[in-house]
Symmetry: C2
Subunit: 87 residues, 2 copies
């Protein structure tokens, strides 16, 4: 499956979430990662993220699409992934 | 089409982009909007955003999927759209 992840976490937890996202996905924009995951990888990713979040304050949004062929991506302005990830 | 928009703009331009996104889409998380747009609405949206950005510094990422039925959305932690949009 193709996955887009957008996180909104308290700054102190950003480095942990960033590390987990980097392990499974590619960075595309501040707080946005995308990539292809198997069902098992998706399960493992969400379980890891759940342990790292404070669910009272943080939010991680995950869009799942069966195949990357079903998604068209456009960027206006600076192109994704061309600069370093910002925490 | 179903559209997910994630923007990363300089703070001073955030209110303009936020207003444009709100006009066309629903707010779901900090800097994230989604919704259904016709081809004409999508053209109008991207043209407006292009005029409002400084393309040297800002980035707006747009994911287009033919139908919302092709997308599964998961939220871990705070649910999207349940609090006020933060600029």
């Amino acid at each position: 499956m193709f996955v887009v992840v957008v996180y909104d976490t308290l700054a102190q937890r950003n480095p942990r979430i960033l590390k987990t996202c980097r392990h499974y996905l590619h960075w595309v924009q501040r707080s946005v990662f995308q990539g292809e995951l198997s069902d098992a990888q998706h399960r493992s990713f969400t379980q890891t993220v759940k342990r790292q979040l404070d669910t009272e304050y943080d939010s991680v949004l995950i869009y799942r699409i069966q195949s990357p062929q079903l998604v068209q991506t456009e960027t206006i302005g600076q192109h994704p992934g061309t600069t370093s990830p910002v925490l």
